[in-house]
Subunit: 308 residues, 2 copies
């Protein structure tokens, strides 16, 4: 037992589970490996939505009302931009901009995304390791009935309306896992897969060569929290996407997706679960900080049970 | 008579005179040739303080209380930046950022500074030609008792405290006047020199090859509004700088500075003025819109008198 844990995460639901784990575990025992397939350049600025969502959530700066972005955010930048005829399909809050501008300077100066992320986490006194899946550029593309779309165009501009035929990760084949990613997985007492969208948020991480095999090799159990609740997605396009990809919207499909490396699945309430696998149940809706702690606690306990 | 006028300007005082001229003159008859020696890159963003001050002033967006920046500005970006350990000596307002970000994208795409400026002015429906002195990079440096300082470090970070020995304009020798600058000067019924700092705001313009000789060649009179009021500078380092450069703080020194091309000088109230030159007098303090119109009117009338 190393007393160390790793979690694969992307998006808002993922950040909530990480927050729960962070609240429960001793300082500096958790590594969050974050999807960067959603990352893109906008106005020349490097945006890392999943890293930033995690930073905002863990530091208590996340906007509860919007469900994304910063607490107390203002929008003067967007308003001025609009008055000058600038593109306004992607909302950048005034405070949020600071992260992108500072990240831009750092990357320009040759710093890696993982090094910048460590600095941001330290500035906000976060005692965990937040690491991008890769320091190399990987871009999620959605092949849709309207042709290929970069992830943010599909997700933000088009509100996930186009029908998805397939998803691909440009640059993934030659991307290297960021420093520490493989070690964090292999040495973990347990690896958790957050209730993030398996196809859009977790698959980009798994597409980075070496990460999937590290999950197969790791000593501890690998446990996923299902993103389905009452047979539906909590938020976002998971269920719609599963239908479009020809999958049943079920925990069987979630299990099948991770089957090669998964040791256990946490499902919501009385939701149907595949037979013959290690399953535990809890209310996986994480409305409050208490909910996050509870789901994280169920996951860590499940890991201990599977280790025995 | 072409019915066209040009004005050389920089800073807040300059923007006020341009505003007065813009209020008095028919649409599209004024060209403002703007100092870009103060321009610099900050956080990778191209900042053009004098162009932006003019845009804000003419569009009614200037912050009257601060004396610089935008009306109704918010500072969430700076606050977030500070929390991440970013440099905070230069304040960038949330709305102000939109200009710099959009300018950055445009320059990156190969657009010229003058073309971007035309677009910004059009977006805010400004019916005058705002043109940078040059599309080439010219940077004002202050040689001080503490060594050489880039303009903004001297002006903003050090509040003009270092003693100035000399001022230089990096890149000026090979800079070309922006398209339209020479024509605007030569064809003008009158060229005005705004009450901007002659050494810091007007000299960079005059340092661009071709501009000084255009002033010598122009058909109409060249008239300066003295930046001195009651023998002092209204705001900013003009008087302090004149002393450090070994000059008397007087309208004689202002006249001498522009003597080779100047046809008339507008001085404040009863301030002393050089003998034997064309002088007119008015209260040059421009507190209100009415003051701006009045000073502009005095200048245009003075030009007509000198033409007769």
């Amino acid at each position: 037992m190393t007393g160390r844990y790793a979690v694969l995460t992307g998006g808002v639901g993922g950040a909530k589970l990480v927050d729960g784990l962070y609240r429960l575990l001793p300082a500096n025992s958790l590594t969050a490996i974050v999807n960067t397939g959603d990352d893109f350049r906008h106005f020349g600025l490097p945006i890392s939505p999943d890293i930033d969502t995690l930073l905002y959530t863990l530091s208590g700066n996340s906007n509860q009302k919007l469900g994304w972005g910063r607490e107390g955010e203002t929008w003067n930048f967007m308003e001025a931009l609009r008055s000058l005829g600038g593109e306004d399909w992607f909302n950048l809050g005034d405070g949020d901009l600071a992260l992108h501008v500072m990240r831009g300077i750092a990357l320009q100066a040759g710093e890696t995304l993982s090094a910048v992320t460590v600095r941001f986490a330290a500035a906000w006194e976060l005692a965990l390791n937040i690491v991008p899946m890769s320091d190399d550029v990987v871009a999620t593309w959605v092949e849709s009935d309207e042709g290929p779309l970069p992830f943010q165009r599909y997700f933000v501009e088009r509100h996930c309306q186009p029908k998805v035929k397939s998803v691909s990760f440009e640059g993934a084949a030659t991307a290297r896992p960021a420093p520490g990613v493989i070690e964090a997985i292999k040495s973990a007492d347990a690896v958790l897969i957050a209730p993030s969208n398996p196809w859009l948020s977790v698959d980009p991480i798994l597409a980075v060569p070496g990460i999937r095999s590290a999950l197969l090799d790791c000593a501890g159990p690998v446990i996923a929290v299902s993103p389905l609740v009452d047979g539906k997605a909590v938020k976002g396009p998971t269920a719609k996407l599963m239908g479009e990809l020809g999958l049943a919207i079920s925990n069987d499909a979630i299990w099948d997706h991770y089957a090669d490396f998964l040791d256990g699945l946490i499902v919501h309430g009385d939701d149907l679960a595949p037979a013959g696998i290690a399953v535990t149940r809890t209310d996986t809706m994480m409305h409050s900080a208490n909910d996050r702690e509870r789901v994280a606690g169920v996951a860590l306990n499940f890991a201990n049970v599977l280790l025995e």
